[in-house]
Subunit: 196 residues, 2 copies
């Protein structure tokens, strides 16, 4: 949709009848941006309260100029000790990690840190709902992989097994997350099916 | 306890029989440090998975030196849009904010941001357990204030009412959090009483 001033609307990615493919409609957004937009939509609809955690930064030096905001002049990225996303949905604790890969045939497990999986195992033990969201960006397909499905692949790789999960396995054992205009990664529809 | 090398142990704050007051044993630790230590202890005991969220930083410039870690050379503190702490305990979503004041007679509500309270209200609506931890550092007394107790004071102050909660009110309507050697702010004992 072109606006009278000739500019494209920021919403112009809505698929037209002639062009109704997910790969077009979703093109160019990172998985993180899509999930953030989805979570904002869920919050606005009062459907769930789920946020991305801030990137952990070790702050070493801060400069305090007069009459303006403090400036961090030296900082370092720290390894996150948890997953990136958590919150509450239908009274349940939700906790997940999201990764995208450009790989066409498999999801490399090296994308994920051991302490994130330990964290997810603890969340599962404590009764939370925990899962991975994995996007194959080449196909623009996004999958939900329940933690219980994922853990055996992870443990096997720690014990010297395969360092990746084949794309076909994710297609078969994961759940394809639908794309919607506002809930761009509408993972709660899958969570509804799996856990409620 | 002095070590043979004459240095104090980092654990030397454990109260001795002659000196068994909370104010001594707990002296010099910030509320945040105490809560972080408590949460670490809870995780090690596999009692609860509760973390402090990282401080949100807007990263503007990053320098990538050869052969060493990326350095953030310009960043700014962002206002958090949620509370600082969340996680899971006994299957329930836990979400809280912690504040300390040097004030002797009241807790000033200006310590808290409106969006943090909106967040807590949403968490309560979605079935989570949400509360404030408030420390009067002069007395070294730490209280748990359930959100339902706190909201009326907050709403009243937004409508032109008192800008603070008197210390006596917090003593009366809040729950004093016990100090333990490892669980320095043992707030889950209060949560057990109130919600389970």
């Amino acid at each position: 949709m072109d606006y009278p001033n000739g500019k494209k609307s920021q919403y112009s990615r809505r698929p037209s009848a002639a062009n109704q493919t997910m790969s077009f409609s979703n093109r160019g957004m990172t998985l993180e941006a899509d999930i953030n937009a989805t979570n904002t939509f869920y919050r606005e609809m009062d459907k769930a309260m789920i946020h991305k955690k801030p990137t952990p930064v070790q702050i070493v030096n801060v400069h305090y100029p007069k009459r303006s905001a403090a400036v961090i002049t030296e900082g370092y990225f720290k390894q996150p000790s948890t997953t990136d996303y958590n919150g509450i949905y239908r009274g349940q604790h939700i906790d997940f990690e999201a990764k995208e890969t450009k790989n066409k045939t498999r999801f490399p497990l090296g994308n994920i840190h051991e302490h994130q999986i330990s964290h997810m195992k603890s969340i599962a033990t404590h009764g939370g709902i925990t899962f991975l969201i994995i996007r194959f960006s080449v196909y623009n397909e996004t999958y939900c992989i329940p933690a219980e499905t994922f853990f055996p692949f992870w443990d096997n790789h720690l014990n010297g097994g395969k360092k990746s999960i084949p794309y076909e396995t994710i297609q078969r054992q994961g759940y394809r997350i639908p794309f919607h205009y506002q809930a761009r990664v509408d993972y709660l529809t899958i969570i509804d099916q799996l856990y409620f």
